[in-house]
Symmetry: C2
Subunit: 132 residues, 2 copies
């Protein structure tokens, strides 16, 4: 039997709300796109981005549109090797906001790793409680 600890936990209100986790970046595909773009101030063409992030044309287009509308990337059109191509480039705002987001992500990782040092799960019934 495990007893539930009735003492008020010491954590502050909103301690785990992670307000700084900008939703535009906190999406698996867009996280990959931004990480690809942040190292390439000259931009990346659509086909390379697609390969790095393993996205379909439709999905990549949709996520680029979200990043473009937020002002985090620029989209350029050109003709290269006789084919119309799309070039994506991070904006200075996009770089700044993305690095702010990454700093929050770092704090999440630190919180989770610190928290995980808690004693191992004790299985079994919690006294006074009924499982759903």
């Amino acid at each position: 039997m495990v007893t539930h600890d009735k003492s008020k936990p010491e954590e502050a209100s909103g301690r785990f709300a992670y307000e700084g986790l900008e939703r535009v970046f906190h999406e698996k595909a867009r996280l990959g796109i931004m990480t690809s773009l942040v190292s390439r101030p000259k931009g990346l063409v659509f086909s390379d981005l697609k390969e790095f992030c393993q996205l379909t044309d439709g999905n990549l287009s949709r996520h680029l549109q979200v990043l473009y509308e937020a002002g985090y990337i620029e989209i350029w059109k050109g003709v290269h090797r006789n084919r119309p191509q799309t070039l994506c480039r991070i904006t200075p705002l996009g770089k700044r906001k993305f690095l702010e987001y990454i700093a929050v992500l770092e704090s999440v990782v630190a919180d989770a790793l610190a928290a995980a040092k808690a004693p191992a799960q004790r299985t079994g019934v919690v006294e006074g409680w009924t499982p759903v």
Copy 2:
């Protein structure tokens, strides 16, 4: 004028696909819930979770249901201080999977911070390209 670098980037296919980013955890609210629970093997009552994560009753219930259906948390019912209450506790599977997810998040942070060391954005026109 900035010229677009036409050389093939060195990154491998799928380098930024982040397949290990389990979608159940990669949601702001559920990330907060799991980080709260991972340090408390005895569980947390609904009202404390709500306060830590700054969620409404409806939102918290919905996210707990997703975590419960994935087998990552247990939900217990009980009466405490003459009120029916809900206790949430992480499962051993939930802890293991969450720490796997956190390891992927750590690699995302490392990738982004390494990438951000690239030279600062050069603004202006990219030669041969037209802005959208």
